[in-house]
């Protein structure tokens, strides 16, 4: 699914990622953990195609293709999805139409006709229930006036609607109360399929009680310094990041 090899990334000449290697296979859930400022969000942005980062070395192979030359929208059309840590408000544009536009552009990329209205609305209904969304939410402007929890639910809702092959969830658990966390995690779990994969970027072990990862990576100072099973997350929780610092 995703294969990152020796990825080095700088921002304005400062090296942030110093040689990342990561293999994610279809059906897997990976968790990337690490303290603030170690490059977790940078990694997510670089995979998703945000401009302003200089990839100095390495490659990102997604479904057999190096995607570094693709724009953000092309990567999305190829099946990548980024759940934002801070989702952006778009006043005046309803979620329904935002998603319809996105789905139709992705379909167009694949040479498909626009989604029929009935089919689209039925899917909206189904996914709204999955995330226990309020009836009115879909007609509201994208993220405008949403609470922190609503914004994160809306990210997962978009993921559910867009059905990506690989979803990267950047700090989706931050700012969530326990109920919202449960709903978000349940949503992610229900969307798991043998042919898709998820990368969960998180600070705390808490989310991983709900979304059980196959692999946990610890990102520290621009490198993945440790990888292991789900028990690694527990160890981190217990010993703190200082333990990694002393180990590395």
């Amino acid at each position: 699914m995703l294969s990152i090899r020796n990825l080095k990334v700088s921002i304005k000449g400062k090296e942030i990622l110093k040689g990342i290697n990561l293999e994610v296979k279809a059906g897997e859930v990976h968790a990337i953990m690490g303290p603030n400022g170690t490059g977790k969000s940078t990694l997510a942005y670089v995979i998703a195609g945000r401009e302003g980062y200089e990839v100095t070395e390495g490659e990102i192979i997604f479904k057999g293709r190096n995607i570094l030359d693709l724009s953000a929208e092309e990567r999305a059309c190829e099946g990548l999805f980024l759940g934002f840590q801070y989702p952006v408000e778009i006043p005046g544009v309803s979620i329904t139409n935002f998603l319809r536009t996105a789905i139709n552009e992705q379909r167009k990329y694949k040479g498909l006709d626009p989604v029929p209205a009935v089919e689209f609305l039925a899917k909206m209904e189904e996914k709204k229930q999955l995330l226990e969304l309020q009836e009115k939410l879909a007609s509201r402007s994208v993220n405008e006036g949403f609470s922190g929890g609503e914004k994160k639910k809306n990210e997962i809702f978009q993921m559910a609607m867009l059905e990506p092959s690989l979803a990267i969830l950047d700090e989706t658990d931050s700012g969530l109360d326990i109920d919202a966390l449960r709903i978000v995690a349940t949503g992610v779990n229900k969307l798991r399929r043998p042919d898709n994969a998820t990368i969960v970027i998180t600070h705390y072990q808490r989310l991983l009680e709900y979304i059980i990862p196959d692999v946990v990576h610890v990102l520290f100072d621009g490198r993945i310094v440790k990888s292991g099973g789900k028990e690694l997350a527990l160890l981190l929780e217990e010993k703190g990041y200082e333990w990694i610092r002393s180990e590395s």
């Binding site: 929208e73 990567r75 934002f84 952006v88 544009v93 536009t101 996105a102 552009e105 626009p114 978009q158």
Partner: protein, 490 residues
């Protein structure tokens, strides 16, 4: 004295060589119009009462002294009229023939938009067979020139009382030379159920300099929704100098909209003078979608306490278009509130000016006055000159102002693109989102829907691409352009 003067951003165009050339070209047109004023006295004053004729003479003197506005005047620093004035114009178009079929020249195609349509052709009230219509509720709509003699008391109580002939040269010129315009009178205690829509069409075979003058009077406890549209059929050079005086009586409410979608050969000077009595409510919204040069003046005087004024504007300009919004809120009475929100997107070489002047008089205690101007510049050649100007003499006031100039938010663009939406369409979405809060202020649902559609079309570039007609209000079909984004129901 608590006087604040804040210059947020300025592109000072103090080019002396240019000014010299401006003066010489202005002088020509001024001289020509002065000649017309002297030679065609009979034609100009044909419908005048003594009262109106006296106003004309006085106004002409003022115009002679002031002349056309130029860059050395503080309020005109950002708007250069020299090119617009450097044409030969015809200044006194004939009144339309009584045989004119009004339905043929204009039909509004806004769906489900029930309006009482009032048509002007080249400034003249178009229905020459019925110059003043009196409705069962006492409302009067018709020709201002006809109202001069038919309703002299109403006219003399208001006409020329609110317009500022003393400091605005173009307003003085209008008072001196205007031949006709729309007269609307709403008596006390009348809520006008229908929207009244005035459409000013210019259709003339030569370059036209038009002074059109409107007078709107709301009595006490009345309610009116007024939509003013500007339309052009001809493609000759047109200079429209329009002045509208509006009296809003005690406890009355006016919802007012200006829809501007002119071709690039048109200069539109639109001066609105609102005068508010106690407890009155004004909401005015100027939406400028296209136009060679547009200047909107919203001059609001709150002379009675407990009044409120909402002044909104949206402008979407590209190519070499220029838009200038001047707002003067004159808080002359206590316990009033004013809110201004102006937003604009400027592309290519387009330029814009926003000048928001709030004056709070010494006695206008407990005034609330808020002002916001936000701009997006899409190219490095586009420019905006925005200046809030608060002049406060009372001590118990709440005032705020803010101006922003920026580009589209990079984070938001990335967010939208990360969902698979192309960069071009992501930009349209963001511009639409930016414009939406002004559009949402439109309280007439059908009009809001239509403006919404027109703004989307404008953002997609459809109106710009349409060569036959820039204003879609008057055409039923225009060439269909395929876009890969469906924004039709956003």
């Amino acid at each position: 004295m608590d006087q604040k003067r804040i210059l947020i951003s300025g592109k000072q165009k103090q080019n002396l060589i240019m000014e010299a050339s401006i003066v010489s070209t202005i002088y020509d047109l001024k001289e020509y119009l002065s000649g017309v004023f002297a030679d065609k006295q009979q034609e100009i004053t044909r419908n005048d009462t003594h009262f109106v004729a006296a106003k004309r003479a006085k106004a002409f003197e003022l115009f002679s002294k002031m002349g056309f506005p130029h860059a050395a005047l503080e309020k005109w620093r950002g708007t250069d009229l020299s090119r617009a004035l450097n044409h030969e114009y015809h200044a006194l178009p004939e009144a339309p023939s009584p045989e004119l079929d009004i339905d043929k020249i204009f039909k509004c195609d806004v769906p489900h938009f029930e309006t009482l349509l009032v048509t002007q052709l080249n400034g003249w009230y178009a229905d020459r067979n019925n110059l003043l219509q009196v409705y069962p509720n006492g409302m009067i709509i018709g020709s201002l020139a006809a109202a001069f003699s038919k309703y002299p008391d109403l006219v003399s109580a208001h006409y020329g009382n609110y317009a500022d002939d003393n400091s605005e040269g173009l307003t003085a010129l209008n008072t001196a030379m205007s031949q006709d315009g729309i007269f609307i009178y709403i008596p006390d205690n009348v809520t006008v159920e229908q929207n009244i829509q005035t459409v000013n069409i210019t259709d003339f075979k030569q370059n036209l300099f038009l002074n059109t003058r409107n007078l709107v009077i709301l009595g006490e406890n009345s309610h009116l929704r007024l939509v003013q549209c500007d339309d052009s059929i001809n493609h000759d050079v047109t200079f429209i100098n329009s002045v509208t005086e509006v009296k809003i009586g005690r406890n009355s409410t006016l919802d007012h909209y200006k829809m501007q979608n002119k071709d690039d050969h048109t200069t539109l000077i639109n001066s609105m003078y609102f005068h508010q009595d106690e407890g009155s409510t004004l909401s005015t919204n100027a939406i400028s979608l296209n136009g060679g040069l547009i200047r909107n003046l919203s001059h609001v005087t709150m002379s009675g306490s407990h009044s409120s004024a909402e002044v909104y504007g949206l402008y979407l300009m590209d190519r070499y278009q220029h838009v200038d919004n001047q707002v003067f809120i004159n808080h002359a009475a206590p316990d009033c509130e004013s809110r201004e929100l102006f937003k604009g997107v400027l592309d290519d070489h387009a330029s814009g000016v926003f000048n928001g002047h709030i004056k709070v008089h010494r006695d206008a205690q407990r005034t609330n006055a808020f002002q916001t101007n936000k701009n997006i510049l899409l190219s490095d050649k586009a420019s905006i000159d925005t200046k809030p100007f608060l002049e406060i003499y009372a001590d118990d006031v709440k005032c705020s102002h803010g101006a922003t100039i920026g580009q589209l938010d990079a984070e938001a663009l990335f967010y939208i693109r990360s969902r698979g939406i192309s960069e071009a369409n992501a930009k349209i979405l963001l511009m639409y989102a930016f414009a939406a809060d002004v559009i949402n202020k439109i309280s007439i649902p059908e009009l809001r829907q239509r403006m919404d559609d027109m703004v989307k079309k404008r953002l997609r570039g459809e109106l710009s691409q349409c060569e036959q007609c820039v204003l879609n209000c008057s055409t039923h079909e225009h060439s269909h352009v395929e876009f890969n984004i469906d924004l039709s129901k956003i």
